[in-house]
């Protein structure tokens, strides 16, 4: 807000060219814009828009404006020249260096062209245009009472003439016909997606474990996210380590991206002496190696930061913090529930999961219960 509260210091540019102040002396009374002036002309003309142009200074201003327009011309020409002449050399733009060069040249000349043109036009308005400020009337928005009354009468008469007001059968059947027609487009949207069903309750871990058990194994192997290499217990034996794992075979599933987004799991090696297994889950870890869902129970970001000294798992999105030594219980932040834990085991020296997560992973939802 430009309300200038300073009684003495409202230094608007003024046309009257008050006498120059010597630095360090108090301002003269005449310069105090709050004080009444004898030759008060009221509304200070926004500088420029001079009504009477001094031909000499106008000529000067015209030259300045023309200089800016020429600069804009030159910049636009440079833009086109660079594009045609240089940006396409050696087969066009390729890679970071050439992109940077092209971006600077094209953007720089484009900005220069527009800014020069803008400055030129601004000076033109302020120094050369001779339009004077004018006054126009404002009008009441509302129509007159007669107009309103006449319109109302016309509308009622039209309703009467059309018969819609006096023929209830017509009116009601019309409304009846309109209702399902309005609903039809909504029905059409049904195939936007599948129904939720039990999709959010299971992950690929469960399916993979079932398949492994059918083959006579104890569970499904954990593979490292990125390399897909199965993980030996002896490969992951340094306390404080954390990696991201997936169930073996998830890459080959039908909706692999969606399955990965649910099954992604963090594997943490917690010092065995500090580890407090949750009751009933005493055999879900392997010497302090414990697995939790990586999908935060708040709104689903990957809880990807692990702090070795405090054993806290932190979600970088909203800072929900979970204690890895204590069943991933929430210690701070907006999440309400612990990260679901994946039961682990060992088979042939490899780390395996022996079952799906015991509860739905990720954010809460209405049907979760």
């Amino acid at each position: 807000m430009s309300d200038n509260n300073d009684t003495a210091g409202s230094h608007e540019p003024r046309e009257d060219g008050g006498s120059r102040r010597v630095v360090g002396t108090p301002s003269s009374v005449g310069e105090r814009t709050l004080l009444a002036k004898d030759d008060d002309e009221g509304y200070p003309a926004p500088a420029g828009a001079g009504e009477e142009l001094d031909e000499k200074s106008a000529k000067n201003a015209e030259r300045v404006v023309a200089a800016f327009f020429l600069l804009a011309f030159a910049a636009s020409v440079a833009f086109i020249a660079y594009y045609i002449g240089w940006s396409g050399r050696n087969g066009g733009m390729h890679g970071v260096t050439r992109t940077r060069e092209s971006n600077l040249w094209l953007g720089g000349t484009m900005a220069l062209a527009m800014l020069a043109l803008a400055v030129g036009v601004t000076i033109w308005v302020r120094r050369l245009m001779t339009s004077k400020p004018i006054i126009q009337e404002r009008h009441e928005m509302a129509s007159s009472a007669e107009t309103r009354a006449a319109f109302e009468a016309d509308v009622l008469a039209g309703g009467e003439d059309s018969g819609i007001t006096k023929r209830p059968l017509l009116r009601r059947t019309l409304l009846l016909a309109a209702a399902p027609l309005g609903l039809a487009p909504l029905v059409l949207l049904r195939d936007l997606g599948p129904l939720p069903e039990k999709r959010l309750r299971h992950t690929f871990w469960g399916e993979a474990v079932k398949k492994a058990k059918a083959e006579g194994k104890k569970g499904v192997r954990l593979v490292v996210d990125g390399t897909n290499a199965p993980l030996k217990v002896s490969d992951f034996n340094s306390p404080g380590g954390m990696i991201t794992v997936l169930p073996e075979g998830i890459e080959e599933t039908h909706e692999a991206a969606n399955e990965i987004a649910k099954a992604v799991t963090i594997l943490i090696n917690v010092p065995a002496e500090q580890f407090k297994p949750v009751k009933g889950r005493e055999n879900w870890h392997v010497n302090g190696v414990v697995a939790y869902s990586k999908i935060c129970t708040h709104v689903g970001c990957p809880a990807a930061l692990y702090e070795q000294t405090t054993h806290h798992i932190l979600c970088p999105c909203h800072q929900s913090t979970f204690d890895a030594t204590d069943g991933a219980k929430v210690v701070f932040g907006p999440a309400h529930r612990p990260l679901p834990q994946l039961p682990l085991g060992v088979e042939d020296g490899y780390l395996i999961a022996t079952d799906d997560f015991p509860e739905p992973i990720g954010p809460s939802f209405w049907e979760r219960g």
């Binding site: 003495a8 814009t33 066009g92 939720p196 999709r199 929430v330 309400h336 049907e367």
Partner: protein, 554 residues
């Protein structure tokens, strides 16, 4: 040019149109339309021009962008991602950046313009709010404006989700989590929006859907609303700040043609020029550094664009303990639902309702074409500042990890600070703002009543010194005297002792109390007659005598 005739090249087409449309009537009425001047009136123009630039650059980008989640192996000229598997959307965004000449520039201008679009709408809204420019007859444009801001938030969210890089995927993941928290229909909304499960659904429908919404549906609606906004503004004529020649009956300023037209044209070029400058020299959203989306990966310090920061902050502040309930086998996740809906609901719902609440409380149903100075409506200004504080604190809380990192304070400490500040801050802002407004009113009352300190010390015959006061300049006086006296409370009973309808019942009582709260400490500002110069500029309202109050416009 009164005696010159228009050149044939101009007159020809004009006559052609006029013969068929009668368009010259319209042009004649509007060619010299007056636009009042004030620097703050330019904020909305920035928003308008940013939108035009968004349409231009966005159209350019659609010529190369592939809205597809099909997995491809990147083989473009950005060597660091060569051979990496990614979605076609991400690959084509890289192609635009590194293989289309000017593509990166247009992408960056597009993103900067989006940031500027939202920022200028917000600044424009604050201007309109604090000067009371939303008052009758302009409530409709106020509502249209708020809806454009909300649509702009969605448009931005969907827009930066399109390139399918790591950061944008994180935003969508959060969108999914928020959708799931909606009671009863949450999972259905999730499934129907994503076409199945996050991220790709059953057929990779998500990116094509976001694309259609981003380039067609929302811009179409915004374009319609912008048009309505402009036409209403044009029809109702722009408000003016209180100054000489401005009133509810007339408007004073430079004519549209040629002055305003040239100025606003230059302003478009300034906006575009500055955005081009940013696009050329200031990197924004370098998607090639983030890599393709991977549901298991994230980078620390993930930040959305600024206009989503307020939601991000709300999500971060809400404590998770005791805020999720399982009732009759159904989960209600208030730790997500409340921050996602309540804060912005209060801010936007409150803003939409405010013009009508104010009308109801004050009983002022008149037309207002002259803006208030913010100090002259202390309650409105204070409520506005409380809202700004509330929004601003949530916005800062959305970057609390960055704040904790930059200022070396505890991360959880910042969360606790904001959890309290969000309640205390707005109250403090309200009180402080109101006091400042009243103080400024007292100062105005002093100037109106006693004049301005002239800097001339006068010695009285008895040896006392005093400073002479002189009347303020006329345009300053017009500004100061633009304050209306607080409207008298509506009488509780009419002449026959029958309670007035507006004062009856609990709502009537509430209304009277609110009106009293809004006006009890009002400071009347009145002009003294000539020759008053008591030398004491005390602004106490009681010291200001009665004078012929010169009111402008009303």
């Amino acid at each position: 040019m009164s005696d010159a005739t228009a050149p044939k090249a101009v007159a020809g087409p004009l006559n052609f149109l006029d013969d068929r449309l009668g368009s010259t009537n319209f042009f004649q009425r509007n060619v010299k339309k007056v636009f009042p001047d004030h620097w703050s009136f330019m904020l909305g123009e920035i928003a308008l021009y940013s939108f035009v630039i968004l349409l231009l650059t966005g159209t350019f980008l659609t010529l190369w962008f592939h809205p597809s989640m099909e997995e491809v192996v990147y083989n473009g000229s950005y060597t660091k991602l060569k051979g990496v598997q990614m979605s076609e959307a991400y690959s084509s965004a890289l192609h635009i950046s590194f293989d289309v000449r000017g593509g990166l520039l247009m992408r960056q201008i597009h993103h900067w313009a989006a940031v500027l679009f939202m920022a200028s709408i917000l600044a424009h809204m604050l201007r309109v709010f604090f000067t009371g420019a939303y008052r009758k007859p302009r409530e409709l444009n106020w509502l249209i404006g708020i809806n454009m801001f909300i649509l702009g938030m969605l448009e931005g969210l969907f827009g930066y989700s399109l390139p399918d890089d790591l950061l944008s995927g994180t935003g969508l993941r959060i969108t999914q989590g928020v959708a799931e928290s909606i009671p009863l229909v949450g999972t259905y909304i999730y499934m129907f929006l994503f076409g199945g499960e996050f991220p790709a659904g059953q057929y990779g429908d998500l990116i094509p859907r976001l694309y259609a919404i981003h380039i067609l549906l929302i811009p179409g609606v915004i374009l319609g609303l912008v048009t309505a906004h402009m036409m209403i503004m044009w029809h109702q004529k722009h408000t003016a700040m209180p100054s000489k020649n401005q009133s509810n009956e007339q408007v004073y300023g430079y004519p549209f043609y040629p002055v305003f037209m040239a100025k606003t044209g230059a302003y478009f070029l300034f906006t575009f020029g500055v955005l081009a400058l940013l696009g050329a020299f200031a990197q924004i959203n370098p998607i090639w550094l983030f890599g393709p989306y991977d549901p298991g990966a994230i980078s620390s310090g993930s930040q959305p664009d600024w206009y989503m920061g307020v939601l991000e902050g709300a999500l971060r502040l809400m404590p998770g303990q005791g805020t999720e309930w399982v009732i009759w086998g159904h989960t209600i996740s208030l730790n997500v639902l409340i921050p996602a809906t309540v804060p912005l609901g209060i801010v936007f719902g409150g803003a939409m309702a405010w013009p009508f609440i104010e009308q109801w409380v004050t009983g002022d149903k008149r037309r207002h074409d002259i803006n208030d100075r913010p100090r002259n409506a202390p309650v409105r200004t204070a409520i506005g500042m409380a809202a700004v504080t509330f929004y601003g604190l949530l916005w800062l809380a959305g970057a609390n990890d960055v704040l904790a990192d930059k200022f070396h304070v505890s991360l959880f400490g910042t969360t606790w600070f904001f959890r309290f500040a969000i309640f205390i801050g707005p109250v403090v802002a309200y009180i402080v703002t109101k006091r400042i407004c009243l103080g400024l009113q007292r100062k105005d009352a002093a100037v109106a009543g006693h004049g301005v300190e002239a800097g001339i010390i006068v010695m009285a015959p008895d040896g006392g010194f005093s400073e002479r006061h002189e009347p303020a300049r006329e345009d300053e006086m017009i500004k100061i005297l633009s304050k209306e006296k607080a409207r008298a409370e509506a009488p509780a009973v009419d002449a026959n002792g029958i309670p007035a309808p507006s004062q009856k019942g609990p709502m009537g009582h509430l209304r009277s109390r609110l009106q009293r709260a809004m006006t009890f400490d009002d400071i009347p500002i009145e002009e003294h007659g000539e020759g008053h110069g008591e030398g004491h500029g005390h602004g106490d309202e009681k010291a200001v005598g009665s004078g012929s109050g010169k009111q402008l416009g009303h």
